[in-house]
Amino acid sequence: MWKYLLKRIALALLILFGVSALIYLLSMLMPADYIDNQTAAAVQSGAMTLEDVQHLKKLYGLADKSFGGIVNSYLTWLKSTLSGDLGFSFLYGKPVTKVLSEYIWISFIVAFISYILEIMIGIPMGIKASVNQYSAYDYTVSVFAMMGTALPSFFLAALLMNVFAIKLGVLPLQGLTTATKLFSPDAHFQIFLDKAWHLVMPITVLTLLGVGGIMKFTRTNMLEVLNSDYIRTARAKGLSERTVIYKHAFRNTMIPLVTTLSGMLPGLFGGAMITETVFAIPGIGYMALRATQQGDIPFIMGYNMFLSILTVLGMLISDIMYMVVDPRVKLS
């Protein structure tokens, strides 16, 4: 088993290497980078010459856009990345790692709460739907689930904002804090409440979008288990339908559920780009979208690598959890 795990880790590293090279190539292809954006006005007014701009670019290793130049600067980037330095964000004026560590938490909190809500709503509904296959409940749940996956986040967000923030006025429209309210710095509880209040809608959006997938996944796996021989054995033992479903069937459905759900955990740090932007929540997704629009190459690189690492980590966690949860996979 350890051999298998080592193989997976080696594969993960290989994938990460490939991903980083690809992302680097792509972001270097972005024609207008941050320096162009920032210096455009200065060049126009004559305060800076194009030579100055080139000089600046050279400083940041962005000047040479030939293939060889990109390879060289990639190797430089890789070297510093391996030593834990992701470079310096132009837009935010801080090291990329610092920006990441500052802004992932709010993203994580929003994502984690909706993750918990999704699990708490999705799994029981999925079980009930599978037990009553083809019933009215099953249809309702399936339609609801697919509705969630069919809604674009920005549209759902706009609808909620229209109803709850504008028409009813019960929830704040955007942001993380109320700009017009002033709290004394030690009123921690009020500040907390204010922030929580602002997060209600973003969390609702993420939950509604994600719950359908979990529901459907539970239902499909549960149906498969319910048709198996050992469920018939359990019934033949005289166990009540409740025990058969919630103990014998669900314990088997848990295996794919736990592996998949635990694999989703690292991704919670990645931020929800669109939702955070629509609600102007200063999470990592919001910051990344701004950086992408501005051509902040070091930050784009750092963020995308961060996302890829999270994905690979999720895969590894899934693998490990599978070994832990399924007794048929030997732990030795």
């Binding site: 021989d229 359990a234 005289g238 166990l239 314990r251 007794p327 048929r328």
Partner: protein, 401 residues
């Protein structure tokens, strides 16, 4: 090619397209099915059924189970499959009754009906009764019993051993947990310790070496034979009055088969229960059973003691079965096989089902279905060779009485 193949009707030479159902027929069938199924499900889901409704009297108190004119149908998309079509036989106390027949003849469905485990909602018991002599002295009709009441019989008084030991144990629970569960469920005042002791005793009884280790292992860590022993031990933990063994040895090696059969017979004597033994292997029946029931296409065509069936088979099908059994006294070079195939369970003919395969078919065989002829108090067969009474006439006569 490819995509459209799926939608194209396959044209097979020599077969005319009329073998396919028309759209209208299809619709009629599913409408009919939905109506019937809904009715049965409603009846099954009734709550607070009083005990009188399913209390009944045994015809012979020395029997544990009496099947009486049982009909179990499956309402499928292509029509009604009459899996069990008027089956009547008894399982006497302390005896082994073997049920033989080709695959798909309804023997498994008969046993599942007895457990109320027929796969719903398409499968339903539509007629007849299954009388069961419970350990509390009362006699119940299982076909009318409410689901929650049945839970007290399943696993406790009637236990079942399935054909597939590899997939019949829950892969995520340890053997011990799965056995203890039955005891804790059915035995009053059972503690985890007493359950454990009982499980281990049972594992010992079925001849498993290294009981403690098996008790705490997962099913996938055991071989097929071991798992079947575990299944038997699990069936025995509550001292059932009846064990249903549904082809318990089919999936096993020949050497293991013999051991398992030996074990089952031993065990039956120890707990003084009955066994309903389902198999298509005549050799096994000869060795195990006291009584034999031969089923064909959902009906019983012959039943009797094992001696009567093996030494004096009456029905041509039984005769054929005996002949097709390889044995020491083989004189011919080739194995005998009964020609043709079982008629499809949908749209059964209204004449003898064996007619088109029978060597001794007569004119009447293509017109009516024969009724049971009695040769001795225990031996009966349904064949026109021994009398011209058709089943319909017989039923009409009985009703007239």
């Amino acid at each position: 090619m490819g995509l459209f193949d799926i939608f194209k009707r396959k044209k097979i030479e020599g077969v005319d397209d009329t073998m396919y159902l028309t759209l209208r027929e299809e619709r009629r069938i599913s409408k009919e099915n939905n109506r019937i199924i809904r009715e049965f499900e409603r009846a099954k889901n009734r709550k607070n059924v009083s005990e009188e409704e399913y209390l009944t009297q045994m015809r012979d108190p020395s029997n544990v189970v009496e099947f009486d004119n049982l009909h179990t149908y499956f309402f499928t998309d292509v029509g009604t499959v009459k899996s069990v079509n008027g089956v009547s036989f008894d399982i006497p106390q302390g005896k082994i009754v073997g049920v033989v027949g080709e695959s798909g003849c309804g023997k498994s469905v008969t046993s599942l009906s007895l457990m109320q485990l027929v796969q719903g909602p398409t499968g339903q018991i539509v007629e007849g009764s299954i009388r069961y002599q419970a350990s509390d002295g009362k006699c119940y009709d299982i076909t009318k019993m409410p689901r929650d009441r049945m839970l007290k019989i399943r696993g406790k008084e009637i236990a079942m051993i399935f054909q597939e030991p590899m997939t019949s144990l829950n892969p995520v629970f340890k053997i011990g947990q799965q056995m203890d569960e039955v005891i804790l469920l059915h035995e009053e005042g059972a503690t985890p310790e007493s359950a454990r002791a009982r499980s281990i005793e049972m594992l010992n009884l079925v001849g498993i070496a290294g009981v403690e280790k098996v008790y705490s292992s997962y099913p996938h860590e055991l071989s097929g034979g071991m798992r079947q022993r575990v299944m038997i031990a699990m069936a025995l933990v509550c001292n059932p009055r009846l064990i249903i063994a549904d082809e318990p040895t089919t999936a096993l090696d020949v050497t293991i088969q013999a051991q398992i059969l030996e074990l089952l017979r031993d065990v039956k004597n120890k707990i003084n229960g009955s066994i309903m033994f389902i198999t298509h292997d005549l050799g096994v029946i000869a060795e195990m059973a006291d009584y034999v029931v031969v089923m064909y296409a959902g009906r019983i065509i012959e039943k009797g003691t094992v001696r009567e069936i093996f030494h004096d088979p009456k029905h041509p099908y039984t005769v054929g079965l005996m002949k097709s059994k390889p044995g020491r006294h083989m004189t011919e070079d080739r194995l005998y096989s009964i020609r043709g195939q079982v008629p499809n369970p949908i749209n059964m003919p209204n004449h003898c089902y064996f007619y088109n395969r029978c060597d001794k078919a007569m004119e009447i065989c293509s017109k009516d279905y024969p009724c049971m002829m009695e040769f001795s108090p225990t031996h009966q067969a349904a064949c026109f060779l021994y009398g011209q009474n058709s089943l319909e006439e017989n039923l009409a006569k009985e009703e007239g009485r």
